[in-house]
């Protein structure tokens, strides 16, 4: 083989550079976020139980959106009672700490839902 030294050095360098993200992060897994519930709503129940909401809140919100906008149905019979189908008024009414509740997980999984391009974050933050 010609230029054995250069070729092997090149391959070794390539492997090191290519796998850099893996070995630089070994043993340093990001801590999974724990969304925080506002202390003043602790003990209240959500429209469905926690496990369901954790797994399906995005589908639920999609169904709510279509149901309200297209069919004019505005209330939802959940496992725990009847609720208004509204991100701003129902969800954000309790979960009014978007940064600690929504964003903590969404940022962790590098997700930017476009809900808040139009929907206003919370009653406190009226400047959107």
């Amino acid at each position: 083989m010609y230029d054995k030294g250069k070729v092997i050095t090149g391959i070794v360098l390539f492997v090191i550079v290519f796998t850099f993200p893996f070995w630089i992060n070994v043993g340093k897994a990001n801590i999974a976020p724990e969304p925080k519930i506002n202390p003043e709503v602790a003990g209240k129940v959500c429209v469905e139980d926690k496990a369901f909401m954790k797994a399906n809140h995005m589908q639920l919100l999609d169904e709510w959106r279509d149901s309200v906008v297209r069919d004019g149905n505005r209330t939802y019979m959940g496992g725990t009672g009847r609720y208004e189908m509204s991100l701003t008024n129902s969800c954000m009414g309790c979960h009014n700490n978007k940064a600690q509740f929504c964003d903590s997980c969404h940022n962790y999984v590098s997700l930017t839902p476009n809900c808040w391009n139009c929907h206003i974050e919370s009653k406190e933050n009226t400047n959107g």
């Binding site: 019979m77 701003t88 476009n114 139009c118």
Partner: protein, 260 residues
């Protein structure tokens, strides 16, 4: 022997064809069950009608009442105040008679009519061209006649703006939040790149309230009601007065009537 093999092949062929039926049916939308949120319903006190309509009594309007109505609408729906007229967002606004009724504006219009602007808005047509052209069905006509937009679906193609003969639709060329003084948290803002228009206050009707502009006019300048109910206030106004609709020759069948 030969005949048995032929029969076997026939049956095998039919069976194979049968296997393709279900996927084909699924692809055609047969057998797809769209989940309906359980027990979904409107609010108990919602106002409902078979056909919502509005009568604008231009005789009664004062400049002050017009301003109040427009301000109430803008506040209720987070309509931004954009100074650049090319970017302006309009749900309910003032227009001169000659612009609102171009085919009526002859040389001898009474000075009062010619001078005083009148309120114009989406006409919530019975045959809405905007609905017909929308490629994503973002604009649609509800069972009660209101032509509404699903902002989530709007891709900003502006076909509807080209189709609407009344200029009732506005496009967000710039981020509307930069031009909002105070926001009403009960109604979303829009985002750059979508079209918007008057929705006859569908969100207020659902809560049992009349449209914001109707409520802001204290003197019955705007009359709102069910066209299908012969005793409704709109039908009474239509029976007692000669009314006009905008550009009737286009066949869009507008449902906002004007008493001049």
């Amino acid at each position: 022997m030969d005949s048995a093999r032929r029969n076997f092949l026939k049956i095998a062929g039919l069976a194979a064809a049968g296997l393709t039926l279900k996927p084909a049916g699924n692809a055609l939308g047969m057998g797809v069950i769209v989940p309906e949120p359980e027990g979904a319903a409107g609010f108990d006190n919602a106002l409902s009608a078979k056909r919502w309509a509005m009568v604008v009594d231009t005789r009664k309007f004062t400049a002050q009442a017009r301003k109040a109505a427009v301000a109430a609408c803008n506040k209720a729906h987070n309509v931004p105040d954009i100074k650049n007229s090319k970017h302006a967002i309009k749900w309910l606004w003032e227009a001169n008679f000659k612009n609102a009724f171009p085919e009526m504006a002859g040389p001898h219009v009474p000075p009062q009519v010619e001078r005083e602007p009148m309120l114009v808005l989406c006409n919530h047509c019975d045959s809405p061209p905007c609905v017909r052209v929308c490629p994503t069905k973002a604009t649609f006509k509800r069972a009660d006649g209101i032509v509404v937009m699903d902002f989530h679906r709007c891709i900003g193609c502006r076909y509807c703006m080209a189709a609407c003969p009344y200029g009732s639709r506005s496009f967000n060329y710039v981020d509307p939040r930069q031009h909002l003084g105070q926001t009403n948290v009960d109604f979303p803002t829009r985002t750059k790149g979508v079209v918007e228009k008057c929705n006859f206050c569908a969100e207020r009707l659902a809560r049992g309230q009349k449209p914001a502009c109707v409520e802001a006019c204290r003197n019955n300048e705007l009359i709102f009601g069910d066209l299908a109910d012969p005793n409704s206030s709109v039908n009474q106004a239509l029976r007692q007065n000669f009314t006009l609709v905008r550009k009737p020759e286009l066949g869009t069948q507008p449902q906002v009537y004007y008493i001049i």
